[in-house]
């Protein structure tokens, strides 16, 4: 009997570890393979023996794609993307913060409807908006500028941003603010001394999400930019899918991925928390 139970436990454990191994292989191996390709010499990759553990690690591909004047405008693209993403994130937080506070705390006429519209826009295909935006930006002479990207990204990200910040404000007990008011705080002081410090994680989360979403956006810069000068990092990647060595392509992909992955790992807890906050809604 005991023997049998133990055999069952062993069977169960091995089933779990087998499943874990399969999941690990499917989910993590492609990423590993990408990094592997980016640090191996071209001739090794072309050879037909399957090599999963690198016998030789080189950084030539990274050097090549980061060199100025490479056909993949990666260095410039990363700088542009950094600028655009930081601007967008700052702009979004600045606009979303008062909006979220108003929608959470003040009696704004039609606030329910506003929130409904904000959520439902995510069901709509992006191409629906990009055609007229393209026409408008060309009309205003704004096509091929960083400003056009910041404006469009902000429009796409703001609904999500307002929603994130509102969840954080909703979680604050109103009594805190009421107590402060009774103690003689002005509305400005209440926001500055009580609300802002308490929702700092929310602001950080909003900033991080806006940054990531701007960094990875592909379709908007594809349509709005022509000159290489303002090419973003994601767009640079696409140029690299044609006619470049596979190792350099992998290196460019790793460089595109790296900032997002780093941000995500650093803020893992916060990111998960924000995502799951949606489960209540």
């Amino acid at each position: 009997m005991i023997f049998r139970r133990r055999r069952k436990a062993i069977f169960r454990a091995s089933a779990i570890y087998l499943a874990a191994a399969v999941v690990l292989l499917v989910m993590a191996f492609p990423l590993y393979a990408l990094v592997l390709t980016s640090v191996q010499p071209e001739n090794l990759m072309r050879s037909r023996d399957l090599q999963v553990i690198p016998s030789q690690i080189i950084f030539d591909h990274y050097q090549a794609v980061l060199a100025p004047g490479h056909i993949v405008p990666l260095r410039q693209g990363m700088l542009n993307s950094l600028l655009v993403s930081l601007c967008t994130a700052a702009f979004c937080v600045l606009l979303a913060l008062p909006a979220a506070y108003a929608l959470a705390r003040l009696r704004v006429p039609g606030s329910k409807a506003i929130l409904g519209v904000l959520v439902s826009v995510y069901f709509l295909p992006t191409t629906l908006f990009l055609i007229p935006m393209f026409v408008v930006f060309v009309g205003w002479g704004l096509d091929d500028t960083i400003l056009s990207l910041v404006l469009t990204y902000s429009g796409f990200i703001l609904p999500f941003q307002i929603w994130i910040l509102k969840t954080f404000i909703d979680r604050l007990p109103v009594e805190l603010e009421e107590a402060a008011r009774i103690d003689g705080c002005t509305p400005g002081q209440i926001v500055r001394l009580i609300v802002l410090p308490l929702i700092r994680p929310g602001i950080l989360a909003g900033f991080v999400f806006a940054f990531i979403l701007s960094w990875i956006e592909f379709l908007t810069p594809l349509i709005f930019t022509n000159s290489l000068k303002i090419s973003t990092v994601a767009l640079g990647m696409f140029r690299s899918t044609i006619d470049i060595q596979i190792g350099q392509q992998a290196a460019a992909a790793v460089l595109t991925l790296l900032p997002v992955a780093l941000v995500m790992i650093v803020f893992q807890r916060l990111v998960t928390q924000v995502m799951l906050a949606g489960a209540d809604k």
């Binding site: 999941v23 990759m45 037909r48 796409f156 991925l257």
Partner: protein
């Protein structure tokens, strides 16, 4: 006595009070609108105005050089789309692609969540690796799977060849049918983490007593899975599947990177079709019409999902 008129002073005071309260409320409303205004303005500028503009365009012939509408053509854009077999195929393909991606993602994510819900050594590490693809930008996911399925240097060919499952290297992206599924794999791989997290949260909030009670009553593991776990998780799964479906309908980056809609248009979904019509053929009118058809297809499917959810809820309540 009770009906004695209030002294004039009291009435005046009360009236004043009422007035200040309503003024205060109006002030608050104004302040609220003022605070929400700039954000709403940007959102409306980027969403509502273009959405209306696109609707107008879908009935028009647009001159891209002069940036003006040449003339209105009624339903000509729509009928020309309906008569275009490439468009009809793209529509069907989009629905197939959306259903495939959302269904497979849901099933795999549920199984992975079940695994991560068990206690075993290295669970935390596995969780990190499962969540990681979520951080991968769609473009990079496209490049990454493009390299995995690369005809010459791809690991998929190498592995299958070593295992003896194929006798020569295959050109996966050269055939429309397999290429479409490579794109689906990229989308599924990218989408799994998000759903796993939600399923895990759902699993962890399940009442454990129910399972224990069922085990005491002699229900086998399969029975507990089939009659308790699956019904309890269905309300979690349906909205997730819906969100995933909508996302898959919008897939663009992976298609662009992997196949550019080819070979021979075989991996063109509606979203990609709109892009091609607008920015390669420069027919903004027809592109707009196609964009609205995509919206319509999406909304219809959402409606079907909502209907299923109501049906499941009702069935669940009756049981």
């Amino acid at each position: 006595m009770g009906n004695a008129p209030l002294p004039a002073t009291v009435r005046a005071l009360a009236g004043n009070q009422v007035e200040t309260v309503s003024m205060k409320r109006r002030g608050e409303q104004m302040l609220g609108l003022l605070m929400a205004g700039p954000a709403l303005l940007v959102v409306l500028g980027i969403y509502l105005y273009p959405a209306v503009f696109t609707l107008v365009l879908s009935f028009a012939d647009y001159d891209l050089v002069r940036l003006s509408i040449k003339r209105f053509v009624g339903f000509a854009n729509f009928s020309s789309l309906a008569g275009n077999p490439a468009f009809v195929q793209a529509t069907l393909r989009t629905i197939y692609f959306g259903l495939l991606v959302s269904a497979v993602t849901t099933v795999l994510a549920f199984l992975i969540a079940l695994l991560l819900d068990q206690k075993f050594y290295g669970r935390g590490l596995l969780r990190v690796f499962v969540v990681l693809p979520w951080a991968v930008p769609p473009v990079v996911a496209g490049v990454l799977w493009g390299q995995m399925f690369h005809a010459d240097v791809g690991f998929v060919n190498a592995m299958l060849f070593q295992l003896g499952l194929i006798d020569s290297y295959r050109i996966w992206l050269g055939d429309a049918w397999t290429a479409l599924h490579v794109i689906a794999i990229a989308e599924i791989w990218k989408a799994i983490p998000f759903m796993v997290l939600f399923f895990l949260a759902g699993l962890q909030s399940l009442p454990q007593q129910v399972f224990e009670a069922a085990a005491v009553d002699g229900a086998t593991a399969t029975e507990r899975f089939r009659y308790i776990l699956v019904p309890l998780m269905t309300p979690v799964a349906i909205p997730l599947m819906l969100i995933q479906f909508v996302w898959a309908m919008k897939a663009f980056d992976t298609i662009f990177v992997l196949t550019r809609g080819g070979p021979a248009g075989g991996t063109t979904t509606l979203n990609y079709f709109v892009y091609q019509e607008a920015f390669q053929s420069f027919n903004l009118g027809r592109a707009s019409a196609a964009a609205y058809i995509l919206l319509l297809v999406t909304l219809l499917t959402v409606a079907v999902f909502a209907f299923i959810r109501i049906y499941v809820d009702r069935k669940w309540r009756r049981a």
